[in-house]
């Protein structure tokens, strides 16, 4: 098959043969398939021309190998459909967008889980602060209160949580102790998170400073 777009196409030539047999029009005797109509076309051929196929007969005679003779002066018809490249680009963009959305949702879920964990930890230290406030002065001496038994809620939500209490005497002012309660926990990757911390003060004699 040569490079000429219109006349050297075997499919096109075959189509023209079928067309002739269908509409009953033939080129004038002695004329080749590539020669234009010598006279006004019949109704059938006008119908064919209207449908765009009959325009083939208006082509200039073509000599095989003569490129200039086959050149069509009319503009090419507008391209329809998409190329494979365009389809690939569209799919790539679609995939990228979907991946971004999925990652965003995963990050949102992770942050929500972290917030829930922190809430449970803060609830634990706040409840523990209430318990510590009921302890006697001697029971909150430095080195004596170092940890506490985690609640069922904390064990259920954060099984690997560590509860720590740190008591220190206040150097200035009335006798007082600074009590720092904290909960730290680890995530699935083993990273330590937190701590959720509450700091409270106890004063000797239960009097306001």
């Amino acid at each position: 098959m040569c490079g000429h777009r219109v006349f050297c196409n075997p499919v096109g030539n075959a189509l023209r043969g079928v067309l002739r047999a269908t509409v009953g029009t033939k080129p004038p005797s002695g004329a080749t398939a590539l020669r234009p109509f010598p006279t006004a076309p019949s109704a059938a051929s006008r119908r064919v021309e209207k449908n765009g196929v009959g325009s083939l007969w208006r082509k200039q005679p073509f000599q095989h190998g003569d490129i200039t003779a086959a050149k069509d002066s009319r503009p090419l018809p507008r391209r329809r459909g998409m190329t494979l490249f365009e389809l690939t680009v569209a799919l790539f963009i679609l995939t990228t967008v979907m991946l971004a959305i999925v990652q965003l949702m995963a990050a949102t879920a992770t942050q929500r889980r972290l917030v829930d964990q922190r809430r449970v930890a803060l609830q634990e230290v706040a409840n523990q602060a209430e318990r510590v406030s009921l302890l006697a002065w001697d029971e909150v001496a430095p080195g004596k209160l170092t940890t506490w038994e985690p609640s069922a809620d904390l064990i259920k939500a954060l099984p690997q949580a560590k509860c720590e209490a740190e008591v220190s005497d206040e150097p200035n002012g009335p006798p007082a102790r600074r009590i720092r309660l904290s909960v730290t926990w680890t995530n699935a990757a083993g990273w330590e998170l937190g701590p959720a911390t509450v700091t409270m003060w106890r004063f000797a004699g239960e009097e306001r400073p």
């Binding site: 929500r112 609830q123 706040a126 006697a136 400073p209």
Partner: protein, 169 residues
């Protein structure tokens, strides 16, 4: 070839319909998921705020109270003659402040849907600890969809000198 081909083949139409179906399906799924997440987050935030407000109020009342009794509800008696009752009337916890049977103040705290609320007390060596537990009811839903649970503990007649600050790193 004569002119540009007119119309579209069945294969092209099928491809277009398939791609459109996939795109619409993914979009609809994403939108539904986002809408569900939004509802769940909004519900969680509302519940968390209500529980935080309740915890702060209950602890302040308990610290100020001279005596506490649990008769299905919490009744906190203050030194100035006021009494504060916490009761659960689904789906909310109601706080009523009374003096000589006359209502002085009323608060409500919205609880999670189908929540079960329990009022308990615990005697410890140096005083009393009251505990308010909020648990999800018998709901058949995934764990992540369950309403928030919480336990609020407060010491009754505890040292008024206790001060607290919470630090979030």
């Amino acid at each position: 070839m004569s002119k540009a081909r007119q119309g579209k083949s069945l294969v092209e139409l099928l491809v277009v319909v398939s791609i459109l179906s996939i795109v619409i399906g993914m979009s609809a799924t994403s939108l539904a998921t986002l809408y569900r997440l939004h509802r769940r987050y909004a519900r969680d935030v509302e519940q968390a705020l209500a529980i935080d407000r309740l915890a702060a109020r209950l602890r302040a009342d308990a610290h100020e109270a001279a005596r506490a009794t649990v008769d299905g509800d919490f009744v906190l008696n203050l030194a100035d003659g006021r009494s504060i009752r916490y009761s659960f009337e689904p789906p909310r916890i109601i706080r009523q402040v009374k003096r000589d049977d006359s209502l002085l103040h009323r608060d409500t705290f919205a609880m999670p849907r189908d929540a079960v609320v329990a009022f308990e007390n615990e005697e410890v060596a140096a005083g009393m600890l009251i505990r308010l537990s909020i648990r999800p009811g018998e709901l058949k839903m995934p764990a992540r969809e369950l309403p928030r649970s919480a336990t609020i503990e407060a010491s009754v007649a505890s040292r008024p000198s206790m001060g607290q600050i919470a630090r979030q790193p």
